[in-house]
Structures are given as structure tokens and as C-alpha cells.
């Protein structure tokens, strides 16, 4: 009898959760469906759900717009570039703090975190000036550097929490066997740290891909990534829902898929170890 009630309850919870889950997901679902409609069907009254002539013409139209491939390339270069550059700088730092902690390690970590909390508008004009001075406004290199800097604290923190889980004894054993620092890193640390590094890369690509302050303000055309490209749709020109949807789906699909794999890392990366 008790078991029967449990199953009944389970079905109840299932229905309720799926209902709410689908409701939250609905805007994405609707965008997905709309991206396969013709512009006329996209605004038909009443709305049509599944039974329409599915078409790929919107995707073709968006791809033909001269600046879409450029925006996609920019997004990829900026997200990957800033993440990898950040990893390059952060791995040694996080390694040292995790395995050779000093008296000031905690202060350094907290100070790094505090730089993440600096409001962007507090440094807005100086950055515009600096960019103009070096003639790198609207360039990928500028955004790679800025996104690297705003995400560096998160990269260091995530790597630090992963590295701390690697038992120090292993490194000491390697040192006993005569491994120098370089060999220690290449042969001992790297294989054990790779999963953590991969997770960190994943989460930071997501964060960089979706960054929408600096990418909007500091780019015009040449370095404009997808965030900026999509924002250019904000002035509607006639019928455009279906094309907007197609462009949106192409902009979010890769990150959505990566995001689903990085749920756990998200908690670790964005709470700085304060929630476990």
C-alpha cells in the first residue's frame, strides 16, 4: 500500500516538474519552432505550433547576410582566445597557490576575486581611451584581452579548487624520485589536472561567448561577435521574426549544448567554492 502511494506521488511530482520545466524552456522552444516557419506563418493569428511547412530558408537567409559568418568567427576567436590566454596565465598561478601555499595565498585569492566585482562602468572611458590610443578599437585582440581579464579570477579560482583536490603526496613522491618542477608539471600534475582544466575551459568559453557589455560597446563591425550581431536585429524591418529566430538559434545552440555538460562546473565556478 505504501509503495502504491509512493508511485502515485512520483507521478504527481513528475507531471508538476515537467510542466514547470517545459514552461521555463518554452521561449527557447518557441524560438526554435519559429526559426523553421516562413515570415508570414511566424506572425499568423492564431499562432501555429507544429503543423506548418517546415523550411530552412531563414537559416539560408541569415547565413547569406554578409556579416553573419564574420560574427560567428569573431565569437569563436574571442571566446576561445580569451579562455586559452587566461588558462595559460592561470594554470601556473593556481598550481603554485594549491601546492605551495604561503601566508598570503588566501589574501591573493580574495583580492583576485575582488577585481571581478569591479563594475564595468567604473573603467569604461579609460578603456575606450586606451583602445583608441593603441588603435585597437573594434579589434579581436582588444576583446580577447578584456574578456581574459574579466574572467581570469574565475579561471584561477576554479583551477585552484580542482588542484586542491589532487593529493600533494603524489607530487612529493615525484620530487623524491628526482623530478624537477618542469617534469612534475608535465608528467604528474597535467594528467591529473586535465579534467579540471577542461571543465574550466568549458565554463569560461560559455561566459565569454555570452558576454554582452564590452562586446557591444567596444565593437562596431570588424570584431563584432554574435552578441552584437543579434543586437543589430533590434530595429525591426518589416517581417523578421523567423530570421531573428534562426539567427538566435544559431547563436545559442553550441553554447546550450556545452552548457548542459557543464552544470556541475557552473556551481563550482560561479560560487567560488562557497556552495558544495
Amino acid at each position: 500500500m505504501a509503495r502504491a502511494i509512493t508511485t502515485q506521488k512520483k507521478i504527481m511530482w513528475t507531471v508538476l516538474s515537467w510542466g514547470i520545466g517545459l514552461l521555463i524552456f518554452f521561449p527557447i522552444m518557441w524560438t526554435f519552432l519559429t526559426s523553421f516557419k516562413t515570415e508570414a506563418t511566424a506572425i499568423s493569428d492564431p499562432p501555429v505550433w507544429f503543423f506548418f511547412d517546415w523550411t530552412l530558408e531563414n537559416y539560408a537567409a541569415v547565413l547569406e547576410r554578409s556579416n553573419y559568418p564574420l560574427a560567428l568567427t569573431n565569437s569563436i576567436v574571442i571566446a576561445l582566445g580569451s579562455t586559452l590566454l587566461g588558462i595559460l596565465i592561470a594554470v601556473p598561478a593556481a598550481w603554485a597557490m594549491a601546492f605551495v601555499p604561503g601566508k598570503r595565498t588566501k589574501d591573493v585569492l580574495l583580492w583576485m576575486l575582488s577585481t571581478k566585482m569591479l563594475p564595468a562602468v567604473g573603467v569604461l572611458y579609460p578603456l575606450v581611451l586606451i583602445a583608441k590610443y593603441f588603435d585597437i578599437m573594434d579589434s579581436r585582440i582588444l576583446l580577447v584581452m578584456i574578456l581574459m581579464l574579466i574572467n581570469l579570477p574565475i579561471i584561477v579560482w576554479m583551477l585552484y579548487t580542482y588542484f586542491r583536490e589532487i593529493p600533494g603526496e603524489i607530487l612529493e613522491a615525484a620530487r623524491m624520485d628526482g623530478a624537477n618542477l618542469k617534469n612534475e608539471i608535465i608528467y604528474v600534475l597535467t594528467p591529473m589536472a586535465l579534467p579540471g582544466i577542461a571543465s574550466t575551459i568549458l565554463l569560461n568559453i560559455i561566459l565569454a561567448w555570452n558576454e554582452a557589455f564590452w562586446t557591444i560597446i567596444l565593437t562596431t563591425v570588424n570584431a563584432a561577435p554574435l552578441t552584437k550581431f543579434i543586437a543589430s536585429f533590434s530595429a525591426p524591418e518589416g517581417l523578421f521574426y523567423a530570421k531573428l529566430s534562426a539567427a538566435s538559434i544559431m547563436a545559442i545552440a553550441p553554447i546550450l549544448i556545452m552548457g548542459w555538460f557543464s552544470q556541475k562546473q557552473l556551481v563550482r565556478g560561479l560560487t567560488f567554492g562557497a556552495v558544495k
Partner: protein, 288 residues
């Protein structure tokens, strides 16, 4: 044991990260501080290096500052309310036994990965639009007048968009916290006949308090700098101009660098007040 040698190489390994962050933080911030005491309006070719606290005085006493603070508080406050209350309920719900839990989790978490400009544009056009938005069809279906959300309730509309993006974040973190709650304690309380509401109030909520605090602090820091959602939907009009947006407009639209920089410094100070609390919690956790 760390030797003197490994300690010095450790310092060397930390140095690049510290250096770039130090430069990143100090150089622009000092420049902003410098401009905030200057009368600097490039469009009028005005540059007077020292006018004292005039910019701060005029920024702080302007009606747009006060209304931007009000807007910011409303926006951040209501988004926090929605995401925390919704997040706790959703976390508890997702913790129940059910079929297809993994898929529901994926559905719920998805909005967090949608880039801000996409979510703002999708909501603006396909939901809020008075002629062709889904809400208008819904209203018409129930025999009500279609409603122009973005011009009638602009602040509310932006709150909806941003809350939709951040609810998954709150849910995910609170779910992690819920799952670390020992079921024995709850079962014992259930055996003793404690009703569900008091179990929630006396066991679950205290257990979640730390995670809730962390979510509030982290979200506040991110929400204080909401930009793209406002940029795409109202461009700061109709009473949706937050402090961040006001500073952006002063600096880049009206090109009053002095005034905008003073506003920027004020934003930095306000953000730091929140940051101090967050750092304390994170710092305590580092000791364990």
C-alpha cells in the same frame, strides 16, 4: 615540505596573473578617478583638470541619479525576490523522486546559457510585442485587450527577462545545497509528526540559508551591471535607466566624461559594499 627554492618559483608562477590583474584594476580606475575631478567634455573641447568635487556634487544631486538608484533597487530587488523564491521552490521540486529528472534539469537550466541580447530580443518581439507577441494572442484568446508591455510596464518587462535568465542559476545552486541535506534529519522530523511547512521552516530553510546568501550576493554583483537587456529593449527610456546605464549614457552618449566618471566611481563604491559581504563568506570557507 615546500623548500625555499619551490617558494620562490611559486612566486614567479603567480606573478603574471597578479601583474595583469593589478594593471587591469589600477590603471583604468586611477584614470577614472582622475577624470572624475575634471571638467572633460571632448565634444565641446573642454578640458579643465581640476574642478574639485563638482562632478560628484552635480551627479549625486541630479534627479536622474536618484531615479536611477530607485530603478536599480527595484530591478535588482524584484529579480532577487523572484529568483530566490522560485529557486528554492524549484530546487525542492527537482529534488523529489520523479521520472526523467535529468531532462527536467536540462530544461530548467537552459535559459542561463542564452546570450543576453538573444533573450532580450526574443522576449521583446515574440512575447511582449503588442501586435504579434504571444502574450497579445493569449490576452485576445481570453477576450482581453492586448497590452503593450514594454511601454506600459517597461521595468516589469525587463525584470521578467532577466529573472528568466537567472532563475536557473539560483535553482542550480540551491539544488546543490538541497541535495547535501541529510535525509535522516528530515525523516526523523517526519516520524515525529512535524508538518511539511514546519519541516521546511525549521530544517530546510536554515540549511539553505548560506547558499541563499551566496546566491543573493553573486546575483547582486552581476545584476548591478545589467546592460544588454536594457540596451536592446528600452535603451534606458521609460524609467528603466539604472545606475550602470546612466553612467554609460553620460560617458558615451552625452560625452560628459567628468560627470560620468564621478558616477562610475560611485558605482564602484556601491558595488564594493556588496562585495565585502561576499568576500567574507568566501574567505571563511577557504579556511575550512
Amino acid at each position: 615540505m615546500a623548500t625555499e627554492h619551490s617558494r620562490s618559483s611559486a612566486r614567479l608562477m603567480i606573478a603574471p596573473a597578479v601583474f595583469v590583474l593589478l594593471v587591469w584594476m589600477l590603471v583604468p580606475l586611477i584614470m577614472t578617478l582622475y577624470f572624475s575631478f575634471a571638467d572633460y567634455r571632448p565634444l565641446r573641447a573642454t578640458f579643465e583638470t581640476w574642478i574639485g568635487f563638482d562632478n560628484y556634487a552635480s551627479f549625486l544631486t541630479s534627479s536622474s541619479f536618484l531615479s536611477s538608484i530607485g530603478t536599480t533597487l527595484w530591478m535588482v530587488g524584484s529579480i532577487l525576490m523572484i529568483t530566490i523564491v522560485g529557486g528554492v521552490l524549484l530546487a525542492l521540486l527537482l529534488d523529489r523522486p520523479m521520472f526523467g529528472q535529468g531532462i527536467v534539469r536540462i530544461l530548467v537550466i537552459a535559459p542561463f546559457f542564452v546570450m543576453p541580447t538573444v533573450s532580450a530580443l526574443v522576449w521583446k518581439n515574440m512575447f511582449f510585442n503588442v501586435d504579434n507577441g504571444l502574450f497579445s494572442y493569449l490576452f485576445k484568446f481570453f477576450g482581453a485587450q492586448p497590452f503593450d508591455f514594454l511601454s506600459q510596464l517597461p521595468l516589469f518587462s525587463i525584470v521578467v527577462i532577466v529573472a528568466w535568465q537567472w532563475l536557473p542559476f539560483a535553482t542550480l545552486i540551491l539544488l546543490t545545497a538541497v541535495q547535501s541535506l541529510s535525509s535522516e534529519q528530515l525523516e526523523a522530523a517526519e516520524m515525529d509528526g512535524a508538518p511539511a511547512l514546519s519541516r521546511f521552516w525549521y530544517i530546510i530553510l536554515p540549511h539553505l540559508s548560506r547558499a541563499i546568501t551566496v546566491v543573493i550576493l553573486i546575483q547582486t554583483i552581476f545584476l548591478l551591471s545589467i546592460f544588454a537587456e536594457i540596451f536592446v529593449t528600452t535603451n534606458g527610456a521609460f524609467g528603466t535607466r539604472t545606475l550602470t546605464y546612466l553612467v554609460y549614457q553620460r560617458v558615451l552618449e552625452s560625452q560628459n566624461i567628468g560627470l560620468g566618471s564621478a558616477g562610475g566611481i560611485i558605482a564602484v563604491i556601491l558595488a564594493n559594499i556588496v562585495a565585502i559581504f561576499l568576500m567574507r563568506i568566501v574567505g571563511k570557507n577557504l579556511d575550512n
